[in-house]
Each structure stands twice: as structure tokens, then as C-alpha cells.
């Protein structure tokens, strides 16, 4: 695959990933912050603040885990390469 195409594909996949992440985050924060009572149509102050914090934490965690995941994948790849080199 030529590098231009690869880059374009990577960008598209990232957009898709972001959209998926956004949906999951919405779901998660809804579950965590909005109890299913629905006595009134407004978000209470507590629910609103919870949502703000939830979004912040979710995004932070997403970033952290992404970095760690990359780290581990790189390590993994190197280990496999060494193993392959060792056997050849």
C-alpha cells in the first residue's frame, strides 16, 4: 500500500474510532451519572457536575490507555522479532 493511501486510511479509521469512542463515553457517563428516575426533565446540578467529571475522566483514561497500549505493542513486536531472529 502506498504511504499516501496508508495515511489517508489511518486518518479515516481514527475518525471512525473517535465516533465509536464518543458513543461509548456517552453510554458510560449516562449509566454512571443519570439515575433512571426521571421525575423531572432537567438535569440536576449533581448530575451535570458528574457528567462534566465523567467526560474528563473518560477522555483522560482513553489517552492513557492508548499510550500504554502502543508501548506494549511495540515491546511485543520487538520480542517477536528477537525470537524470530534467534531461531533463523
Amino acid at each position: 500500500m502506498d504511504p499516501m493511501k496508508a495515511q489517508q486510511l489511518a486518518a479515516e479509521l481514527e475518525v471512525e474510532m473517535m465516533a465509536d469512542m464518543y458513543n461509548r463515553m456517552t453510554n458510560a457517563c449516562h449509566k454512571k451519572c443519570v439515575p433512571p428516575h426521571y421525575k423531572e426533565a432537567e438535569l440536576s446540578k449533581g448530575e451535570a457536575v458528574c457528567l462534566d467529571r465523567c467526560v474528563a475522566k473518560y477522555l483522560d483514561l482513553h489517552e492513557r490507555l492508548g499510550r500504554k497500549l502502543t508501548e506494549l505493542s511495540v515491546q511485543d513486536e520487538e520480542a517477536m522479532r528477537k525470537a524470530a531472529a534467534g531461531t533463523s
Binding site: M25, C29, H30, K39, A41, L43, E47, V55, A56
Partner: protein, 88 residues
């Protein structure tokens, strides 16, 4: 001025439909409890109407915080890039 392309409009509409389905399922699960009758009871109606409004307010708030986060991220990146690009 940025134009809203047709494919953007389609995506937006698709998202809207997705939200519609999700909140129907959500509010149904949380509000409809009486299966001794086919009729939707008045308390189930008021519950789901509150549920709808609350859900929409919640998604609006999440969207707002998410955008703020990304603006912050971009500003941080721009600041870094700006510092690197400083002529000495």
C-alpha cells in the same frame, strides 16, 4: 464559510436516527414496567417524556465538554508547535 456537504448532512441525519433509537430503547427500559396491559399508562408517558428531555440535555452537555477538551488539546499542541517554531 464552511459548507455543509451532502455527505455531512447524511451523516448528521444518520446520527440523529441512531440517537432516536438509543433513547427509545433507554427510556423504554427505564420507564415502561407494566405489562398487564397494551396501553401505555400515563405515568409511563410522563416518565418517558422527562426521560427524553433529560437524555437530550445530557447529550448536549457531553458534546459541549468534549468540544472544550479538544479545543484545549489543539491549543496545547499549537502552543508547543509555536514554541518550536520561534525564530531566535
Amino acid at each position: 464559510a464552511a459548507q455543509v456537504t451532502e455527505s455531512d448532512q447524511i451523516k448528521q441525519f444518520k446520527e440523529f436516527l441512531g440517537t432516536y433509537n438509543k433513547l427509545t430503547e433507554n427510556c423504554f427500559m427505564d420507564c415502561v414496567k407494566d405489562f398487564t396491559t397494551r396501553e401505555v399508562k400515563p405515568e409511563e408517558t410522563t416518565c418517558s417524556e422527562s426521560c427524553l428531555q433529560k437524555y437530550l440535555k445530557m447529550t448536549q452537555r457531553i458534546s459541549m465538554r468534549f468540544q472544550e477538551y479538544h479545543i484545549q488539546q489543539n491549543e496545547a499542541l499549537a502552543a508547543k508547535a509555536g514554541l518550536l517554531g520561534q525564530p531566535r
